[in-house]
């Protein structure tokens, strides 16, 4: 980010627009100095970073400081999170009966009102941190040998457990987004994946070395086929993928409801709608073999999947075609890329990723298949992808943040009595603010960053 040039500091650069316009640029989002300026700069050994376009009297630190408060990606994302947490704090105060009472005496005892509100909100967010990263009390007790080390790791492993399926479903939204498709169907594809993986998990009983890969393959395959259906319908008929995927989500949910009631799948010893339990050999192996810590292979697979997707998008031929179709389908078709095939394969890949997300829940944390086993992971995946700016590693980061919020939300509900539904609100607000950088910029009076132009439309579908 530090190499981006704030527009105010343009100086002599801005005076020669025609030179700027004509210079070929490797990264279009960065305003490049004209050639003569660039040559002078390149000749100066004192400049620490490549392409510093501002006059020499500005130090690196100054540029960094200015860019830190400009509307670049990182700043906007962090400030959006801060803003969402602030709104969450206000909601906590409104949602608490005693604080509501106290606020009616605001003009009588303003200091006490603010102090009590601050105490409440900071305690709740503190609990959230303790539930998602590390609890200092437990760490302290472990240091004095009063608690086992597993307890110290409990919060962070919870975060990883929640993050794994979100990264998968986030990738399932991010990949088609790069091809110009908005995949709302992560939920349905994840459900189909959970059905595939879960069926292998409960039907077989062999060694984990065989059964776990089989389950993952079945999940990815079923999810992939469900995604492929969307892609092929879109390619053949031009139907809008948003509508298709919304409808297929409900069809998948209803199908799951029917499936778990079938002979051979349903648990005959239970009156409610639940499948037989997953066989012990079907579960994804845990990272740390301890009954307390739930984190399993899923998070490793999710990060590997992100790495694979990053390689695929950046380095592979298919990834190139995918991005070409996303930028301009007509141009891609003219260049000899099979647009329909690319769309169908993209959706199949997305479906497979979402299917793996569903499988990682079915074989990771769920004891059996139930109607609502997946919660909202598909829809949360949309938020994760948008927050991660539809880039694979961004999705990993966003998935970890959302996982942390969810894990922390449980603790917050248990200790501070703030309903964990607040987490959903905070997540939605973060994404809303990130999707509208102009809003965040106005609220914080950020300086304009030249890099912003390319990022302003993160959500451009």
């Amino acid at each position: 980010m530090t190499s981006h040039e704030p527009i105010e500091s343009a100086g002599p650069v801005g005076a020669e627009p025609q030179a700027t316009a004509s210079s070929p640029d490797k990264s279009p989002s960065v305003e490049k100095p004209p050639f003569d300026q660039y040559a002078v700069r390149a000749g100066e050994p004192a400049v620490g970073h490549r392409r510093a376009p501002e006059p020499a009297r500005r130090s690196f630190g100054q540029v960094l400081r200015e860019e830190l408060w400009a509307d670049n990606n990182v700043t906007v994302t962090i400030l959006a999170i801060v803003l969402a947490l602030f709104c969450g704090g206000i909601l906590m105060i409104i949602g608490n009966a005693e604080l509501r009472e106290q606020w009616s005496y605001f003009f009588y005892q303003p200091g006490k009102t603010l102090a009590e509100s601050w105490d409440f909100v900071s305690t709740a967010y503190g609990d959230m941190f303790k539930g998602s990263v590390v609890n200092p009390d437990t760490a302290n007790r472990w240091y004095w040998d009063m608690a086992p080390w597993q307890q110290v790791f409990y919060p962070i492993t919870e975060t990883l457990t929640y993050a794994a399926p979100l990264i998968f479903t986030g990738l399932a939204v991010a990949v088609p987004f790069r091809a110009g498709l908005f995949n709302i169907g992560g939920q349905g594809q994840a459900i189909m994946g959970a059905i595939g993986g879960g069926t292998v998990g409960l039907a077989l009983s062999t060694t984990p070395w065989l059964q776990v890969p089989l389950g993952l393959i079945a999940g990815a395959l079923l999810g992939g086929l469900y995604g492929y259906l969307v892609g092929i319908l879109k390619a053949r008929t031009g139907a809008h993928e948003v509508i298709l995927t919304i409808m297929l989500n409900y069809i998948a949910a209803l199908f799951l409801g029917w499936y778990i009631l079938q002979e051979g799948i349903k648990d005959p010893n239970r009156p409610d709608a639940i499948s037989k339990p997953i066989a012990a050999s079907g579960y994804l192996p845990k990272l740390i073999p301890d009954p307390l810590l739930r984190a399993n292979l899923g998070i490793i697979l999710a990060v590997l999947a992100a790495a694979g997707v990053a390689w695929l998008l950046k380095r592979s031929r298919f990834g190139f075609e995918l991005r070409a179709v996303g930028h301009n389908p007509s141009a891609a078709a003219t260049a000899g890329i099979g647009v329909g095939t690319t769309l169908a394969l993209t959706m199949a890949l997305a479906g497979a990723l979402a299917g793996l997300g569903g499988t990682s829940v079915a074989l990771g944390t769920a004891p059996a298949l139930t109607g609502d086993m997946l919660g909202q992971i598909g829809f949360n995946g949309i938020l994760v992808a948008l927050l991660g700016r539809v880039r694979p590693w961004g999705v990993v980061g966003a998935g970890l943040l959302f996982g942390a919020l969810q894990a922390g939300g449980n603790t917050m509900q248990n200790f501070s009595g703030v309903s964990q539904e607040l987490v959903v609100v905070i997540q939605a607000l973060i994404v809303l603010f990130v999707a509208a950088p102009a809003l965040v910029k106005t609220i914080y009076r950020l300086r304009r960053s030249p890099a912003a132009a390319a990022q302003a439309m993160v959500a451009k579908g």
Binding site: F182, I184, A239, L244, I251, L254, F379, I382, E421, A428
Partner: protein, 422 residues
């Protein structure tokens, strides 16, 4: 979507196998299936269609196998007519599908171990009641999308309406004020959609999806924090009263559905009429449609594009919010978490199925409501057809609609495209 629509219009079907003829062939096949399979499976037990709301009273009896074969043949006839003539598409497809359903019903009722009687009045009433939130939701969608703003946030608007209706209906002690609050609530959520879509140019589907999550989380949070601890004070609204129309509500079959309703059922029909008239017969309607189809041209002739879009999105939110109050003021007493549970998306489907037209949206909503009523009836007579598959039908139908297998639908040209003056 635009390109494919263009393609479909440019490629004039010249061969014998037009879309109508293909559909006719499919309908003939369905009719034959009904005649042979349903006719053979059905027993001679009489299937009784009672006119009233209960299983007693007047009705007509048809032996199950006779009915299944008869209506199967009607479906065949309609299919063949469509196949031969290729005309009267809507009428013939409607007849064929209805006959197919009745044939299936005759079969199911004749083999049911529980009951052979279908109370038509009750089915009609359930159909209409189930359709109410779809009607309001899809009207909200129509108003929004006709003006060029995609409204995927119908679910959220319904949910906000349900929440505000219950909360303010309880606090003020009057369902009228609850209804007003529901409209305000829906409009507030819509205002966020409008600001983000129109002012900040964020992709409208993205905003809509995020707003659904936002509305779900927010209402669930306040439900847990405020409503649940003190239900009597915050979540115990007065339910809307039923206003039967004297005389007319006694009409067989349709009377109970149409003339024994609440403010929601009467309001939904009035709303459809008002939106239809204003959208197609007034200056505002013309401008709205112009802005939705070609904002630049509308701007050229002096229409305030963005102002009109803001206004219409807010109205759409208010309409959907009003419909959302149905859940907390009529369907049950009070709000519960995520109580809308997908109705907003069915409303979205109804809007598309109804081709962005208020009357079409009404018919599509009734169609989806009918499947809901049929499902509960078939569960009632312990039919072996799994209810999940019946519940899938609205969604499958929508997929057929958008993929052009039943007739291609076309969105307003500027739907989802932000307008930047310049």
């Amino acid at each position: 979507m635009t390109t494919s629509v263009l393609d479909a219009e440019l490629a004039v079907p010249t061969g014998y196998w037009t879309r109508a003829r293909k559909t006719g062939a499919v309908m003939t096949g369905l009719g034959l299936l009904a005649t042979i399979v349903f006719g053979l499976l059905a027993t001679g037990e009489a299937a009784r269609f009672a006119y009233g709301e209960t299983v007693d009273g007047k009705g007509i009896d048809i032996p199950g196998n006779v009915g299944a074969i008869l209506f199967g043949l009607i479906a065949v006839a309609a299919g063949v007519a469509l196949l031969v003539t290729g005309r009267h598409f809507g009428l013939l497809v409607g007849t064929a599908l209805l006959a197919f359903i009745v044939s299936a019903l005759c079969w199911q009722m004749s083999v049911s171990p529980v009951s052979h009687i279908m109370p038509l009045g009750s089915v009609a009433a359930i159909t209409f009641t189930a359709a109410i939130p779809f009607i309001f939701g899809s009207l909200g969608g129509v108003l929004c999308e006709r003006t060029g703003v995609v409204n995927v946030a119908i679910e959220g608007q319904l949910l906000t309406g349900a929440f505000f209706g219950s909360l303010f209906g309880t606090v003020t002690g009057s369902f009228w004020l609850g209804l007003v609050a529901a409209m305000v609530g829906g409009a507030l959520l819509s205002a966020i959609l409008a600001v983000f879509a129109i002012r900040y140019l964020v992709d409208q589907v993205v905003v809509g999806i995020v707003l659904n999550v936002f509305a779900g989380g927010l209402t669930a949070f306040f439900y847990e924090q405020v409503m649940r601890p003190d239900t009597d004070a915050y979540n115990f609204p007065e339910r809307v009263p039923t206003w039967p129309v004297p005389g007319l509500s006694e009409i067989p079959v349709l009377g109970p559905a149409l003339f024994n309703g609440t403010i929601f059922s009467y309001g939904s029909l009035i709303a459809v009429a008002v939106v239809t008239l204003t959208l197609f017969r007034t200056r505002w309607g013309l401008r709205t449609r112009a802005v939705g189809e070609h904002p630049a041209a509308a701007d050229t002739v002096g229409i305030r594009v963005l102002g009109l879009r803001y206004l219409n999105v807010l109205i759409a939110g208010a309409v959907a919010g009003f419909g959302g109050a149905y859940f907390s003021l009529q369907s049950t007493t009070g709000f519960s978490k995520y109580m809308v549970s997908g109705a907003g998306f069915i409303a979205l489907a109804a809007m598309i199925f109804g081709r962005w037209n208020p009357v079409g949206a009404l018919l599509a909503s009734l169609f989806f409501g009918f499947f809901g009523a049929l499902t509960s009836f078939l569960i009632g007579i312990s039919s072996p057809i799994p209810s999940q598959f019946l519940n899938m039908l609205p969604y499958v139908a929508t997929i057929f609609a958008v993929t052009g297998l039943v007739g291609r639908v076309r969105a307003p040209a500027a739907d989802g495209k932000p307008y930047v003056k310049g």
